[in-house]
Symmetry: C2
DNA sequence: CGCAATCGTTACGGCTGCGGATTGTTCCGG
DNA sequence: CCGGAACAATCCGCAGCCGTAACGATTGCG
């Protein structure tokens, strides 16, 4: 067990985070998009459309569309799997890593400012 | 300073939370809706449409629409301010309190399970 | 070698939320 | 008492995401 947190603190944390997200008009990702992004960056590659769909419990078009959107934002990129050209490998990008780095820092800073 | 958390832990926390949210097909609120809900439940009343709009930095129709949606979900309710009948007072509900209670517990449980 | 299976994408109709402008009601100052 | 200000709701056209059902490309089994 690592992070001790009371329910009231948890809700305050979510509150501050949601306010921060809403205010700065960054291209706020949907819950699904964020889940995909975090899966790609935190779990071991390779990542495929089918694998992500199974991981999230959603259909494949959901993944394809989310990748379209996040690809335009340069948060992820796609590449054909040359070993099996039916597959598409989802890859990380510098912009995506930066996005998550700033997001992580925001959470840390917000958590640190919580009343005890 | 209360809650110590490293960036990698923060991202893992978000990852687990987003996966949980995506999987159970609960009526997942948008970021804005969540921000409104948390403002209503964590900040001191009374809450008005105008006040919430200013708090979030969005226009009033955004608040009205979000209240429509969350009102149908019974997460909040609306009442005319009898003192100034131009105002609408946003009120908490049992269902809303329960929703946030479960959400807070989920965050706590997820945080507790994070690797040190 | 052909044919079913797999994989990702696209097409379609529908739903929801958005911003901006407008409306109807209520309040208040002159 | 009345005209403007304040407030929330509604209307409008638009953009994004949804689920289902197709589709084209690729693979590998029989």
């Amino acid at each position: 067990m690592a992070v001790e947190l009371r329910p009231s603190q948890a809700l305050r944390l979510l509150h501050e985070l949601s306010l921060a997200q809403v205010r700065d008009d960054a291209p706020d990702l949907s819950q699904r998009q964020l889940a995909i992004l975090l899966s790609v960056y935190l779990e071991a590659p390779p990542h495929t459309v089918r694998g992500l769909a199974a991981r999230l419990g959603v259909t494949k078009p959901v993944i394809t569309r989310a990748l379209d959107t996040m690809g335009q934002l340069r948060l992820v990129s796609r590449r054909r799997d040359e070993a099996d050209r039916r597959n598409v490998i989802i890859q990380r990008t510098v912009e995506g890593a930066l996005y998550l780095e700033r997001l992580g820092d925001l959470v840390v800073a917000t958590a640190r400012a919580l009343p005890r």
